[in-house]
């Protein structure tokens, strides 16, 4: 499917550039997340990737009292099972905390990015990533979050967070990523 490392490097380069840019105003949520609870296949999201250039520098520690967007650091990404777009039980707990943070603050546009691991086909994964993002929007709405201005985008398998070809990487890449812009 996509074993070519040149593409991976370049894609990662794009992703890294994006991350660095975003961290100038906010913390890249994917770098600061704690591992979701209760799932044995869930890796530590910050697990090092030995096959790729070094990851972006670790995010600064939260300084909630000094930064108007610091609360966004506490918003965590959620993860999905292979070829699934229903919200896992561990993701429900994460989203309940996320919903509390989102309801208590305002400002900035929230973009939910749907991502998939590389094992499907690019076309199917585009749809799957969108279903994941939309499932998170629906869940947040059910929790009382004002979702009218929330945007979604599916990257399918095109912009993986982890570049490896094993379950630990795949599990990191089956996610909905919270991005504030």
């Amino acid at each position: 499917m996509k074993e070519g490392h040149p593409m991976r490097r370049s894609r990662l380069g794009t992703a890294l550039a994006l991350c660095v840019l975003l961290m100038s105003v906010l913390v890249w949520a994917g770098c600061s997340k704690k591992s979701a609870k209760g799932v044995e296949t869930e890796p530590t999201p910050a697990a090092p990737d030995t096959t790729t250039p070094p990851p972006p520098p670790p995010p600064p520690p939260p300084q909630a009292t000094e930064d108007a967007t610091a609360w966004q650091d506490a918003i965590q990404d959620v993860f999905f099972d292979y070829d699934k777009y229903d919200i896992r039980s561990d993701a429900r707990e994460v989203l309940q905390k996320d919903a509390s943070g989102l309801k208590a603050h305002s400002g900035g546009t929230l973009v939910l990015e749907g991502h998939c691991d590389e094992r499907g086909t690019p076309e199917y994964n585009l749809a799957l990533g969108q279903r994941r993002a939309d499932a998170v929007v629906a869940y947040l709405k059910d929790l009382g979050v004002e979702t009218g201005s929330v945007q979604t985008v599916s990257y399918g398998e095109e912009r993986p967070f982890a570049q490896g070809h094993d379950e630990s990487s795949w599990a990191q890449n089956r996610r909905v990523h919270f991005r504030f812009q």
Partner: protein
């Protein structure tokens, strides 16, 4: 008498001479029926050098023609300088190809001829004139005419092209290449993510998915002018587009909110209308050659599987049952098979299934690497697909009957999304 057999005989089968053809008619006398393994012994004489041309001119055209005949997978080719009486192949061969190349009025002219054996009755005689630098096109035209003359219901594939996605520049851009790997041309240059190319039936346009405005929308690009236009946009995913066989409509997948359904939009632009109401994820449609039915991927059973439905609505029927992920169907232009990507333990393989459901699912590639996105040649006998075999990602061409495969293009990045064009107008 020295000769070279160009084609390796991977499948040896009896060729079926069309017995219904009246013997007094030389036209189509050698026509064979499609399907199964067929090898026609064909004699190809060296081309002669005509006025104004050089030996190199003649050899250049000849080499392309010989490769075209080889790539057709119809022939066992015997090359002779000139066929003389008494040569065994004058009896065992079914036809002889002759040609001369000359320059006239600034144009390269190939005078091509095809004669039946052993009687040497004229089957085809035609002059092909092009600019000298288009000598490949000249040879391709003659090769297609030979296939048209000898093979029932096959217009040849020597002038077809294949579109694909490559990361050669660092971004996923669309490319087009001749069916024999020559003439690579980059189509998109937007440094975004471009994917899922599919051809318009007249071979002048590609429809594809692009992230160039931030999220996946569907565009049509005119290959001659480079002009692009948005066909389906808006929030969510517009993906996996495909032209209808008449070129008037584009079918695509729209995923948004709780819906992921197939929609149809006029190719000239307009309001999309919904085609499926299935629930779950529905994507990657391919049309039957008559334009009445579609095969597509749906996860309603719990895993991605292929389904067949009338394009005007109605109940869809599940087509694949083996494995946990069957996807990216391509309905053969001849109607008899659907090729698709079937997930195995170590990646996808190309598989085929009878769209009637009467014949089971059958893998036609064996790896290594993940082999995806098959797309039929207009003859319904070859498929192009992408492979990431052992780190050497590329686009490959498979002859379904024999299993013979050749590399079309590889190296310099990863490849995916192969799409074979129809037969362009002359």
């Amino acid at each position: 008498m020295a000769f070279t057999v160009l084609t390796s005989i991977l499948c040896v089968g009896a060729f079926q001479v069309n017995a219904q053809t009246p013997p007094q008619s030389n036209e189509k006398q050698l026509t064979i029926q499609k399907g199964g393994a067929q090898i026609i012994p064909l004699v190809v004489e060296d081309f002669t050098v005509g006025p104004g041309a050089t030996q190199k001119d003649a050899e250049s055209v000849y080499r392309v023609l010989a490769q075209d005949l080889d790539f057709s997978n119809y022939f066992i080719i015997t090359r002779v300088p000139q066929l003389v009486a008494g040569d065994p192949v004058a009896v065992t061969g079914k036809a002889v190809v002759r040609g001369s190349v000359e320059m006239a009025g600034g144009q390269l002219v190939l005078k091509g001829a095809l004669e039946s054996l052993p009687g040497r009755t004229r089957i085809l005689s035609r002059d092909y004139a092009t600019k000298p630098e288009w000598y490949r096109e000249t040879a391709h035209r003659f090769a297609d005419d030979i296939v048209i003359a000898l093979i029932d219901r096959d217009a040849g594939i020597a002038r077809t092209k294949i579109a694909y996605v490559s990361t050669k520049t660092g971004n996923k851009e669309l490319y087009v290449v001749d069916y024999d790997g020559f003439g690579v041309r980059q189509v998109t240059h937007n440094r975004s993510i471009n994917m899922s190319p599919a051809w318009s039936p007249n071979c002048r346009q590609l429809v594809y998915t692009s992230f160039k405005k931030g999220d996946p929308d569907i565009y049509v690009v005119d290959l001659a002018s480079g002009v692009e236009r948005l066909v389906a946009g808006g929030p969510g995913v517009q993906g996996a587009p495909n032209f209808s066989p008449d070129g008037k409509s584009i079918l695509f997948s729209n995923t948004r909110g709780r819906e992921s359904e197939l929609f149809m939009v006029p190719a000239a632009g307009g309001t999309p209308r919904r085609v499926t109401r299935e629930g779950g994820i529905n994507t990657s449609p391919s049309w039957s050659p008559d334009g009445h039915r579609i095969v597509f991927t749906s996860d309603r059973s719990g895993t991605p599987q292929l389904y067949v439905a009338d394009v005007d609505g109605g109940i869809s029927r599940r087509l694949t049952f083996g494995g946990t992920w069957n996807d990216l169907a391509s309905w053969s232009p001849t109607g008899d098979l659907v090729a698709y990507s079937a997930r195995q333990s170590d990646g996808f393989r190309v598989a085929v299934v009878d769209p009637s459901g009467l014949d089971g699912e059958r893998l036609v590639t064996t790896g290594p690497g993940s082999e995806e996105h098959p797309s039929w040649a207009p003859n319904g006998r070859h498929v192009a697909f992408s492979s990431g075999s052992g780190g050497r990602s590329g686009i490959y061409v498979l002859h379904i009957d024999s299993g013979q495969r050749r590399e079309l293009i590889s190296g310099g990045g990863t490849y995916q999304g192969a799409a074979w064009s129809g037969v362009p107008a002359r």
